[in-house]
C-alpha cells in the first residue's frame, strides 16, 4: 500500500478519423482511475505517427489498421527505425484479412467500437509484456510502400519507387536513391522477397530496381571472376557488377 504510484502508462493514438480518436481518449479517461494513463500524442496516419512518436515516447501505441498514406501495419513495421519500441495494439472496424494476420502472429488487436473492458485488458497486458517484439510485427504480411531509416533520431521515409538499388553491408542495407544514400536496418533477402516484382538480384549482396536498369556494360574485371557484365543504373554513375550466376536472370530482363 505504501508503494509509490506507478508512472502512468504513456499512450499514443494513431487513427485517421477524428471521432475515433476522441472516443479512444474518452475511454482512456474513464480507465484512468483503475489504470493510470496519459495520452502523449496522436496522429492521423502512419506517416504523421512516425514523425511524432519519437518525441512522444509512448509505452503503448493504439493503431488503426486502415488509414490513408500509411496504414497501421506498415507504421508498426517502421517502429524499429524510430528506435521507439512500444507495445502495439491494432484497432480495426472489420478487416478479415488484418484479423487473420494478427491471429497468426499473436498480436493484440481491438475491434471497433472498442469496449472499455477490452481496452483495459489489452493495456494491462501491454504494460506487463512490454514492447511488441520486432519479429512479430515484421511477420504481419502487408507490402510496405516505404523503407524507414533513422537519421539522427528522426525517421526518414524512403518511398519504394524512388529506390535505385539496395546493397547489403554487414548488418545493414544501403539504400541508394537518385539524391542520397541511407542505411536501413533490414535484411536483403527479406527485401528481395517482399519486393520480388520490383527488384532483381544482380549479385549476392545487391538488388537493383528493374525500372532503373539503363543497360549493360562489359566490365574488364568484376569481383575477381574475370570479365563480366555490369548494370548501368539510371540516375547514378555507379556500375553494379553482375555475378555469373545471376547474369541469365538479369539478361532476360533486358530483352
Amino acid at each position: 500500500m505504501n508503494a509509490p504510484a506507478p508512472a502512468p502508462l504513456r499512450v499514443f493514438i494513431v487513427d485517421d478519423e477524428a471521432p475515433a480518436r476522441e472516443r479512444m481518449k474518452a475511454l482512456l479517461g474513464d480507465l484512468a482511475a483503475e489504470l493510470p494513463n496519459t495520452v502523449v500524442g496522436e496522429a492521423a496516419n502512419g506517416v504523421e505517427g512516425l514523425a511524432r512518436i519519437v518525441e512522444a515516447r509512448p509505452d503503448v501505441a493504439l493503431v488503426d489498421v486502415q488509414m490513408p498514406q500509411m496504414g497501421g501495419m506498415e507504421f508498426a513495421r517502421h517502429l524499429s527505425a524510430a528506435a521507439q519500441p512500444a507495445a502495439v495494439i491494432f484497432v480495426t472496424a472489420h478487416d478479415q484479412y488484418a484479423i487473420e494476420a494478427f491471429d497468426v502472429n499473436a498480436l493484440d488487436y481491438l475491434l471497433k467500437p472498442v469496449r472499455a473492458t477490452r481496452l483495459a485488458a489489452a493495456l494491462r497486458k501491454a504494460a506487463t509484456a512490454g514492447p511488441t517484439p520486432r519479429a512479430a510485427l515484421e511477420r504481419v504480411a502487408e507490402r510496405r510502400r516505404h523503407l524507414a531509416a533513422n537519421e539522427r533520431g528522426r525517421v526518414l521515409l524512403i518511398p519504394i519507387e524512388t529506390i535505385l538499388y539496395l546493397k547489403a553491408e554487414l548488418k545493414y542495407v544501403t539504400v541508394r536513391t537518385a539524391e542520397r544514400e541511407l542505411l536501413v536496418d533490414e535484411s536483403l533477402s527479406q527485401l528481395e522477397q517482399e519486393f520480388a516484382d520490383l527488384f532483381v538480384r544482380v549479385h549476392r549482396s545487391c538488388l537493383v530496381a528493374k525500372r532503373a536498369i539503363k543497360g549493360f556494360e562489359r566490365a574488364a574485371e568484376a569481383d575477381g571472376e574475370g570479365a563480366g557484365w555490369s548494370v548501368l543504373v539510371d540516375g547514378c554513375e555507379e556500375r553494379l557488377p553482375v555475378s555469373r550466376r545471376q547474369w541469365p536472370v538479369v539478361k532476360s530482363l533486358a530483352g
Partner: protein, 344 residues
C-alpha cells in the same frame, strides 16, 4: 415503394413467369423481329427447289410478312400497358388476335391489288401467323421461367451489395464518440442509421423511384460525414425532371459507398465525389466521379459491386441499360444509362 415490393413478393411464386413480355423493350422487339424473319426464311426454303427459287420465294414472303409483322408490333407496343394489367390468358388471346388480324389484313390488301391472286393463300398465311405467335409466346414464357430464379437471385445480390460491415462499425464508433460531446447530433446520427438499415433490409428486388434512391444515399452520406469530416466532399447535380424515373432499388447508394471507400478514404486530404443525374427525353444518365488511387487497388470489392449492379440493370432493362467505367485524369468515372420510365 413498399406496396410495389409487397406486390412483387406475392406474385413471385407463380404469376411472375406467366406474364407476357414487355413489348416496349428493345430486347423483346429485336427477338420477335429475328424469330419471325427466320421463320419466314424457313418457310420459303421448304417450298423452294433451287437457290433462285428460294430467293424469289423469300422476297415474295417478305413483302407479305414485314408489313404484317410491323403492324402487329405497333399494336402490341401501344397495348403494352393494357397487357400488363389483364390476366395472362386474356393477354395471350390478344396477341393471337393481333397476329391473325395483321395476317388477314395484309392478305386482303394483296387480294384486292395483286393480279392472279390465289385465294388458297389466306388460310396458309393465317396458320403461319398463329404458329409463329404460339412459338414466340412459348419462348417468352420459358424465358420468364428461366429468369424468375434470377429475380430471386437479384434480391440476394441486392443483399450482398448492402453496406459493408466496415461502414457499420466505423459509424457506430463515431456515434459513440458523439454521445458525450453532442448528444443531439448523436441522436440524429442513430436515427439516420436506423432509417438507412430499415431501407436496406426491405425487399429490394424491384424498381424504386430515383428520388428515393437519392434520399437514401444522402442519409448514408450524412453518416460518412460524421467520421470523415472535411475529407468527404460531395457535389450533387440532379435534374429535377429525372426524379420520378424508376431505377433498380439499391443502385445508387452502393456505388456512392464504393466511391467513398476507394476514392475518399485512401486520401489524407479532401476528396470530392461528383454525382450527376440528368434526363434526356426518355433516357436517364447517371455519372459518378471520384478520385482514383491506383496504390489502393488491392482494396477489394469494387468490381463485385459493379458487376452486381450491371447484372441487375440487365435483368430489369435488358439491352436498354448500360454501365461503363473509365479512369481519366486521375479520376474514376462511372456512367449508367437507362430508360426513363416514370412510375405508373
Amino acid at each position: 415503394m413498399p406496396d410495389d415490393n409487397a406486390a412483387i413478393l406475392s406474385q413471385s411464386r407463380n404469376a411472375r413467369h406467366d406474364a407476357l413480355p414487355d413489348f416496349r423493350n428493345l430486347g423483346v422487339i429485336a427477338r420477335t423481329l429475328l424469330a419471325v424473319n427466320f421463320a419466314a426464311a424457313a418457310a420459303a426454303a421448304t417450298d423452294a427447289h433451287s437457290l433462285a427459287q428460294f430467293a424469289a420465294q423469300a422476297t415474295d414472303l417478305a413483302a407479305l410478312v414485314e408489313p404484317a409483322l410491323l403492324a402487329a408490333l405497333v399494336v402490341l407496343y401501344a397495348a403494352s400497358p393494357l397487357l400488363a394489367r389483364i390476366p395472362y390468358y386474356a393477354g395471350v388471346a390478344f396477341v393471337f388476335g393481333t397476329a391473325a388480324l395483321a395476317a388477314v389484313a395484309v392478305e386482303t390488301v394483296f387480294g384486292a391489288y395483286a393480279i392472279n391472286y390465289d385465294p388458297a393463300r389466306m388460310p396458309r398465311t393465317l396458320a403461319f401467323a398463329l404458329a409463329v405467335a404460339l412459338i414466340l409466346i412459348g419462348y417468352f414464357r420459358l424465358r420468364g421461367l428461366a429468369y424468375s430464379p434470377a429475380l430471386a437471385e437479384a434480391r440476394l445480390q441486392a443483399l450482398q451489395a448492402r453496406i459493408r460491415p466496415h461502414f457499420l462499425f466505423n459509424s457506430l464508433n463515431a456515434v459513440l464518440a458523439l454521445i458525450r460531446t453532442d448528444a443531439r447530433q448523436a441522436e440524429n446520427a442513430l436515427e439516420n442509421l436506423a432509417e438507412l438499415y430499415r431501407r436496406l433490409m426491405a425487399d429490394n428486388r424491384g424498381l424504386t423511384q430515383l428520388a428515393d434512391e437519392i434520399e437514401l444515399t444522402r442519409e448514408y452520406l450524412n453518416l460518412e460525414h460524421l467520421r470523415l469530416g472535411e475529407r468527404l466532399q460531395v457535389n450533387w447535380r440532379v435534374d429535377e425532371t429525372a426524379l420520378d424515373g424508376q431505377v433498380p432499388a439499391l443502385m445508387l447508394q452502393p456505388l456512392v459507398e464504393n466511391a467513398v471507400y476507394h476514392g475518399v478514404e485512401p486520401g489524407a486530404g479532401p476528396g470530392a465525389i461528383d454525382i450527376e443525374i440528368a434526363r434526356d427525353g426518355d433516357r436517364l444518365h447517371l455519372r459518378l466521379t471520384n478520385p482514383f488511387h491506383p496504390e489502393y487497388q488491392y482494396r477489394q470489392g469494387n468490381r463485385m459491386a459493379l458487376a452486381n449492379i450491371r447484372e441487375r440493370l440487365m435483368l430489369h432493362f435488358d439491352v436498354e441499360a448500360s454501365l461503363a467505367t473509365e479512369v481519366a485524369d486521375g479520376a474514376f468515372v462511372m456512367r449508367i444509362d437507362l430508360p426513363y420510365r416514370p412510375a405508373a
